[in-house]
């Protein structure tokens, strides 16, 4: 199949996936047949309830998941471009745990609005990773990953402290934070996310072709008349804004932003002009599918980050082996 056809499939795919996802859910009384007879035959038994569940529980959740998946993939891809490192994403760089800590802190101490606090600590975490990894003005692939591990450790520890201090019986819910979960998704949460998310996405989409220029190297970019520093900072702020916004409501979804860009590159190549939209669409669609699995269980819910971790970790190892440039 040629790339063009695949591109159209990727553009159309979110619609059927979102539709089908609306039919899936944990409630035993609201069966798929009931939803169908309501939607297509105007069957009004339980119509209020079906409406509530479809439009106020499932729809905001599916959209929030889609947006989260898309943003993580787009952010991962943009970060890989500016760091010239195919092995980074918001999770690896510590952004996720920083933002999650910021959000948790804001929830319990109320120093800053949640989104702002998540953004500030997300940025702080990425900055910390970068500063730790930098030596002689160079940032090697592996040292950035190692610095990210340390940052992750620090902020995950701080997050745990916040949660334990705020309520010793809430230990269990830390798991939901650290492994990501959408079980309280609502229109309200989507509203919280939408503004920073789209502002960030807009900046990334405007600058997406310039990322190609950066990919060749700082000197190459400078000689072509592009200021690499300015673009890197803009992209970093935009990705941090968008991804910390979604992380503040979803928790930490590990490695997702790393893997999707690689899959997109395998199918559509590396031209950021094309791949950014593909990352948004495929990243959103895949995460909706993964979330469908995680919310179909009854009585409990496996955090979505557990699935993404289990799926993506072997992939990450494979990439690490393949990208041998980083090991010297």
């Amino acid at each position: 199949m040629n790339t063009k056809a695949l591109r159209y499939i990727a553009i159309i795919a979110p619609i059927p996936v979102i539709m089908v996802s609306l039919l899936l859910g944990a409630s035993e009384d609201i069966t798929i047949e009931k939803v169908f007879s309501f939607l297509f035959f105007g069957d009004l038994t339980d119509s209020e309830l079906i409406k509530t569940i479809l439009f106020h529980i499932r729809l905001p959740r599916v959209l929030l998941v889609f947006l989260t998946g898309g943003i993580l993939a787009v952010s991962g891809s943009a970060m890989q471009a500016i760091f010239r490192n195919p092995l980074v994403d918001p999770y690896i760089l510590g952004l996720s745990s920083g933002a999650a800590f910021g959000a948790a802190l804001a929830l319990y101490v109320a120093v800053l609005p949640i989104q702002l606090s998540a953004f500030v600590f997300g940025l702080l975490a990425v900055g910390l990773s970068y500063v730790m990894a930098r030596k002689n003005n160079q940032v090697s692939v592996v040292s950035l990953i190692l610095a990210g591990i340390i940052t992750n450790g620090i902020f995950t520890a701080l997050l745990t402290i916040v949660q334990i201090v705020s309520d010793p019986f809430k230990l269990q819910s830390i798991v939901h934070w650290i492994m990501g979960s959408f079980h309280t998704a609502s229109w309200y949460e989507l509203q919280l996310v939408i503004l920073p998310a789209f502002a960030g996405l807009l900046v990334i989409f405007i600058l997406r072709w310039k990322l190609n220029v950066l990919a060749l190297g700082d000197e190459e970019a400078l000689s072509a008349g592009v200021n690499p520093g300015r673009i890197k900072i803009s992209i970093l702020i935009a990705t941090t804004m968008a991804s910390s916004a979604v992380i503040a409501v979803s928790g930490i979804i590990g490695l997702y932003g790393l893997i999707v860009p690689h899959i997109v590159r395998m199918i559509f190549g590396v031209n950021n002009k094309v791949t950014m939209l593909m990352n948004l669409l495929l990243g959103g669609t895949f995460l909706v599918i993964i979330d469908d699995i995680s919310r179909s269980f009854s009585g409990f819910e496996i955090p979505i980050g557990v699935f993404t971790m289990l799926i993506c970790a072997p992939f990450f190892i494979w990439l690490l082996k393949k990208t041998n440039t980083g090991w010297q």
């Binding site: 195919p86 997406r208 072709w209 072509a224 008349g225």
Partner: protein
């Protein structure tokens, strides 16, 4: 060989160092003439590349001034500078498998606000044609040989359409025939009103194609205007190995003393 002496770049009292004690370039004054192939020579680590980077505005100098076409280089906007000066860095490591056409297209960045247009793609095709690598257009850049990568990067500079080309060892990875082909192309560009400054190592190629010669040594830059610069005492001092010229048809090749 008639000297075209109108300078397009003039350097006055230029100094640069990575730290305060050690200067790489110190108090240099010289001119680069317009529409000429100026060759920079010097030993490894003498500061040739640094000097070229300073000329290209890739690095910021500590003191002195560089004026390009009458404009102070430091005050030029990045995009305007890129339309004026194209700089070809020595080597680099590509991380992502971009296609050749995508790599060359990045040379157009100073003309592109957000996203490339059809006309930019036209310039890419032309540059590839000029270098004679149209067949590589859809190949993956990082999978090419070192020489092919060098040709692609030269095409990228051409797509940028600058008035001045600063080339840091442009032929170092090329085979003999391609070296000659590229240098001939450069001469052709020069005759089409392009100024070229190139760092070259091979004296045969340098003296065969160069029109003006600059030597970098001990953080100093020396302009040598002799008809036969290899006979200059200073030049022989810089390279402590003597070269014996052999003439053929008014052109020279050199045999080192062994």
């Amino acid at each position: 060989m008639a000297m075209k002496e109108k300078p397009i770049i003039s350097v006055t009292e230029l100094s640069f160092g990575y730290n305060q004690n050690q200067s790489v370039i110190s108090n240099v004054t010289c001119n680069i003439p317009e529409n000429t192939l100026t060759v920079i020579m010097g030993k490894n680590g003498s500061g040739k590349s640094t000097f070229l980077r300073l000329l290209g505005g890739i690095m910021q100098y500590n003191s002195g001034a560089i004026s390009v076409n009458g404009f102070e280089l430091k005050k030029m906007k990045l995009g305007d500078r890129a339309k004026m000066i194209g700089f070809l860095p020595q080597h680099h490591k590509p991380v992502f498998p971009f296609r050749v056409s995508e790599v060359v297209l990045t040379g157009r960045a100073s003309y592109i606000r957000f996203s490339p247009k059809k006309s930019d793609e036209y310039h890419v095709d032309r540059a590839l044609e000029l270098i004679g690598i149209s067949s590589l257009k859809n190949r993956i850049y990082s999978e090419l040989s070192g020489g092919e990568q060098q040709l692609v990067m030269i095409a990228r500079i051409l797509a940028q359409q600058p008035k001045i080309l600063l080339l840091d060892e442009p032929i170092s990875h090329l085979d003999y025939h391609n070296q000659i082909r590229i240098l001939k192309l450069i001469k052709e560009l020069v005759s089409n009103n392009i100024t070229v400054v190139a760092v070259l190592h091979d004296p045969n190629m340098a003296y065969l194609f160069g029109e003006k010669f600059i030597y970098v040594h001990d953080s100093q830059v020396h302009e040598v205007k002799d008809e036969k610069p290899w006979e200059n005492h200073l030049v022989n001092n810089i390279f402590d190995n003597e070269l014996f010229p052999h003439e053929h048809d008014g052109k020279y090749i050199f045999i080192p003393k062994i």
